[in-house]
Symmetry: C2
Subunit: 162 residues, 2 copies
């Protein structure tokens, strides 16, 4: 990746920040359940088989980080629901990339069921690293640059053909 490195002690990097908010096995499994439409403490508890004190702790942390929102149920306002916020829903690409990696390198089989595009029923594409124009990039195609070294792309001019 060239000579330039990240400052690995830098707290402002997105990765440690993301891990601080989510970075623990149970938190990801609770999120997976939330993406599957689970909303209630009891549902999470029975489906995941997680100890109640750990579940309460992890739900609290996900709420503190604004990833899940605690809301009273519309039908019975004494009951609480946990719902993915916009910030929580934005974790889906990272979770799917981890899942696909696990399928390829750990379980060796595609997880079932398969995630498909509603419009045509076809499986989603493998989550990859792409250049701004969509070319696939591998580790060896990447390097680091400081922000001030990056030349903004010229926007192609439109030629009016009369």
């Amino acid at each position: 990746m060239g000579d330039l490195r990240e400052d690995l002690s830098n707290i402002d990097c997105g990765l440690p920040a993301a891990l601080e908010a989510t970075g623990e096995r149970w938190s990801f499994l609770i999120l997976r359940a939330a993406f599957n439409g689970l909303h209630h403490f009891e549902e999470f508890q029975s489906t995941l088989g997680i100890a109640r004190n750990i579940l309460a702790n992890r739900l609290g942390r996900l709420v503190d980080h604004g990833i899940l929102a605690r809301e009273p149920m519309p039908k019975d306002r004494r009951k609480i629901e946990y719902r993915l916020t916009e910030k929580g829903a934005a974790l889906l690409p990272a979770m799917l990339a981890l899942r696909q990696w696990g399928e390829t390198w750990e379980t060796g089989v595609p997880s079932t069921p398969v995630l498909v595009d509603k419009r045509d029923g076809q499986p989603i594409r493998k989550i990859d690293i792409q250049a701004h124009d969509g070319r696939l990039l591998q580790l060896e195609d990447l390097s680091w640059k400081h922000t001030h070294e990056i030349t903004p792309l010229e926007v192609p001019k439109l030629h009016i053909v009369a």
Copy 2:
């Protein structure tokens, strides 16, 4: 995402498998350092400021899972290097997706330096969920299907124009 759900107690899903192998804050930070070209115990230790016993434990686990390989240094075979395997390098999309999420939702600033495509020096694209034909997909565009319900895509025929 429709009515079909994953079986959340299923151990064969790629996500729990991926988290089992990597799912802990220090493991990700060690991997980030490995992607930045660090190879030696002492480098990891001094750069990350991690306790030696935790570092030894996490390096051991990453080696056990085939994510890092322990190799004697070519120049001094008494010294050991840790190098990303192909399986380890394949974690990059997941790590970058988490990093980008952290930049957007946690730190609020792009991590520096920026990861660019070597060929044109432009920043990589945001890691997203795409349909097989490259269309961007959001959470509401997705649903689950069993493998046997998926109709394979017809490969478009090439018309030979003589």
